[in-house]
Amino acid sequence: MLESVYSVSDDLDPIAGVRSIVADCRDQLGGRRAAAGLFFTSCLEADYGQMLAAIAEAFPDIELIGCTTDGEITPQRGFTEDSSALLLLISDEISFAAAVAENISDSAEYSISEAYRQAKANLGLEPTMALVLPDGMSTMNVPIDACLRSGMSESLPIFGGSAGDGFRIIKTHQFLGKELFSDAMPILLMSGDVEMGISIATGPVPYGNYYPVDKVNGNVIHSIDGVTALEFYERFFGKYIEDRELSFFPLAVYTADSEDFVLRDPVEVNRNNGSISFVGRLEEPCKVRITQVTREDTLNSGHRGSAQVLSVFEQAKPDIVLMFSCTSRRHVLGSRTDEEFEVLKKDGLQVPFFGFYCYGEIGPFVNGQPVYFHSDTCVLVALRSSSNQS
């Protein structure tokens, strides 16, 4: 059986806020023992060390990982900013072990492999799945999905989202227990009778011609279809575009003669040479298509994704749904952000969901397939203990 308690607070005082959610979770536990925890916060410039200490003091034995975000997602409040949220997982059948991979911008594959080895050793069992929360800034030019596949496992279901910083794009933080990191990736391994289902909702809709990418270097595109990447974007969206707004219009990237694509968000424009940096690397050779982004498409995709993940266990409800939604989705949705959770919040379902707005999403297209790094998606992961017969 996999149970959970969670709480969220947007108290003006971040530390007071964390103390209140800790107290709330302790009350909800009612004597049960939490085995693992996820802590997300979008409080800017808060004393994260003090926040983690407050949690560790209340729950010293839990395997806790977390990160800074671009907003929290909970059933109680929907989307919140300047807030902190804590999820505690309770299960006798499922084991958890956490570790952290550091310096991932320099040596992602090695450090991920080491962290995985360490977490596995702590777990003492073969892991069933893994949740990862990499730095969303320093990993922009890191083939994080390839490193996860090679550093951890090709076949292990891996999912998660990358840490944010309130869309300031300056620095993100990652948490492991009481420790605070940057340029790191906490890992939470799970083992035991737990099942996973996944759906990936994509809002932007590719359209029009396929354009060849002439020159790409990692996550930086220099030239598309004979013009600089900036000129290419200006062709569609006009001049005077700014980096932040540009990021809401990802490119659909096609690497083979296939209709499958990955989305890549532009994040920084080099106006000296017209190149654009994207969140995530691009494989060569590739072609791209421009995408159309509307609130309706974004919401509809979220609703479809939610409905899909709620039905992955056929008649049985998931014990919990973890949600990793791209920050650009909430910026596109604006005042309608909360509508993204409508399907999950439907009366009678009572499925807890918990997550955050992130700078990149991680998960396989289909459970059992290799993991990929995504942009502009909402990755929904349903977890259910196999022993739960309800």
């Binding site: 969206f237 575009i241 159309q292």
Partner: protein, 558 residues
């Protein structure tokens, strides 16, 4: 404890709240700004996408046009050798043949004619599809048109063993204004179709004037007792390449263009075509057209089509420029009853000189001429007008090239109108009327309703007397053509075929004109093998015409 110390925690909380609210407000502002920018970007994107769609649409249309052109070209390519086959068949039929050979030849000719009809349909439809369709309203005799359709319908019905009837009110106003050629084509299509799909019973063509606009609008109905068309197929039958089928079996021959062509022709005339049908009982196609009454003939009882003309200002001076004198003769004959003075120039340079020496009211200019062609001449004349500070003289191009694109080129070159050779007397008078304020009031646009060029002669026999000369001229041209072919000189070959074609057309030698048209086309494509075969067919045809001509003279002499 001081008041400040007491209030300190509250002040800190208040500051926190103010900071929090400031942040929230700032975020809201940013969110609004971001949404505005997103809207701008989306609008730009939409605009760009629309532009792309428009370009894609234009490209698709171009591609469709290319396909239509290809179809037309291919059909044309097929038509040329087919015409040779039919021509040879015709010649063969005039020779001594055994009965079985006659039978084989008859089958060959029937199949060939059927194939030619299909190809002509495709060509016609291609022409319509590419927008080369315009209704040309002229006065016509509706009764005569109906009688012609009846003759064809009755013949077809007789062959199939069914009945054909024409019904119309005898008090019906017969002099109408409209595009009689298109109307005839539509009615022939509908009647032909009705006979094709009727195995027993009959076909009836009925005509009635509609009361609501004083019977100027006419309803033509072609009803049959044929197989009928299912309700769900009735709209589809006007689509091109659609034919009635039973299951997967096509039940009649053809390519399914007749009704598509008819519909487009009716629409071009501003009319409506409808169908009512019931499976097993038959179909009724109705065409509603507005055909205004035209004025009665008051001049010559032989001619019935009349058009009013502006008041007289004086005699009309016309300059005809054509390298073939016999063409000039036709024009002169057409205008001989009218108070006009006609001058002749054999090429563009001579025309220039004639224009300077003695001004004229209208110039009729051939396009392909030695020394100086029509386009060059019109350029010079336009410049001269500018230099002399005189108003533009209407210059009418005369050409056997009937393609719309070419017409546009000629108009852009400075011509005021294009007259397609061979033209009828009524065509010529209509053009003169359009471009002259000086045509005398007693001049009437008179034409023969059957529109046969050679018979437009007023009966004095002036043109008929020229026919031997015309045939001699064409025979001489054939000698030149043969020489050009042996020299592989496609330019001379093309030019000579072109001029001979115009001449033949003018004198009503339709088949000869068609053969020369194909020869010109073959020359332009440098298809010498086809050209060689065509020259043989043309030579034989001219010989045959000369023989007939001689024997008719002998008959008259005897």
């Amino acid at each position: 404890m001081t008041d400040t110390e007491v209030l300190k925690p509250q002040l800190e909380r208040a500051n926190q709240e103010i900071g929090y609210l400031k942040r929230r407000i700032s975020r809201m502002e940013k969110r609004l700004l971001r949404q505005e920018k997103l809207d701008d970007m989306n609008r730009h994107q939409t605009k760009w996408a629309m532009q792309q769609l428009e370009e894609a649409r234009a490209l698709a249309e171009k591609a469709n046009q290319a396909k239509t052109d290809f179809l037309a070209n291919m059909s044309h390519e097929i038509r040329t050798p087919l015409n040779i086959v039919l021509g040879m068949g015709e010649l063969l039929a005039g020779t001594e043949l055994a009965d079985s050979q006659k039978q084989y030849l008859q089958s060959l000719r029937l199949s060939g004619e059927h194939l030619l009809k299909l190809i002509n349909d495709i060509l016609e439809f291609s022409r319509i599809e590419s927008g080369c369709i315009e209704a040309i309203e002229t006065p016509f005799d509706l009764k005569e048109l109906l009688v012609g359709v009846e003759a064809m319908g009755a013949h077809l019905a007789l062959e199939k063993g069914i009945e054909f009837s024409l019904e119309y009110d005898s008090s019906f106003h017969i002099n109408r204004l409209g595009d009689s050629r298109k109307l005839r084509q539509v009615l022939l299509n509908l009647v032909g179709n009705a006979v094709k799909y009727t195995d027993s019973g009959g076909v009836c063509l009925s005509v009635a004037g509609l009361e609501y606009d004083n019977r100027e609008s006419v309803l033509f109905s072609v009803s049959d007792t044929g197989i009928g068309i299912a309700q769900d197929k009735q709209e589809l039958i006007f689509e091109r390449f659609t034919q009635l089928e039973q299951g997967s079996r096509k039940i009649r021959s053809g390519v399914g263009l007749g009704l598509a062509i008819s519909q487009r022709l009716v629409e071009a005339m501003g009319g409506l075509i409808k169908i009512e049908s019931e499976i097993g009982k038959g179909s009724s196609f109705t065409v509603q057209l507005r055909l205004p009454f035209s004025e009665e003939d008051s001049f010559n009882p032989r001619y019935r089509e009349l058009v009013g003309l502006p008041d007289a200002l004086g005699p009309l001076r016309i300059l005809v420029v054509d390298d073939i004198y016999l063409n000039f003769e036709v024009i002169r004959n057409y205008l001989k009853d009218l108070p006009v003075t006609i001058k002749y120039a054999e090429n563009g340079r001579r025309a220039q000189k004639a224009f300077v020496d003695d001004s004229c009211d209208i110039i009729l200019m051939d396009l392909r001429m030695p020394v100086m062609g029509g386009i060059e001449a019109v350029n010079h004349i336009r410049k001269l007008e500018e230099k002399l500070d005189i108003g533009p003289t209407p210059i009418i191009a005369m050409t056997a090239h009937a393609f719309v694109e070419q017409e546009e080129t000629y108009l852009e070159s400075g011509f005021d109108e294009v007259l397609i050779k061979p033209f009828t007397r009524i065509d010529l008078l209509a053009v003169l009327k359009r471009h002259s304020k000086q045509l005398p009031a007693n001049a009437e646009l008179v034409g023969n309703s059957d529109d046969q060029h050679a018979s437009v002669d007023d009966g004095s026999g002036a043109l008929a007397a020229l026919i031997p000369k015309v045939l001699d001229t064409i025979a001489e041209e054939i000698v030149d053509i043969k020489r050009a072919l042996s020299d592989n000189d496609h330019a001379i070959l093309e030019k000579t075929s072109h001029s001979a074609k115009g001449l033949a057309g003018f004198y009503g030698f339709t088949r000869l004109s068609d053969l020369l048209d194909h020869l010109e086309e073959s020359a332009s494509r440098r298809e010498y093998r086809t050209a060689r075969a065509l020259i043989v067919a043309i030579g034989s045809h001219v010989d045959e015409l000369r023989r007939r001509q001689e024997s008719s003279f002998e008959d008259i002499a005897n």
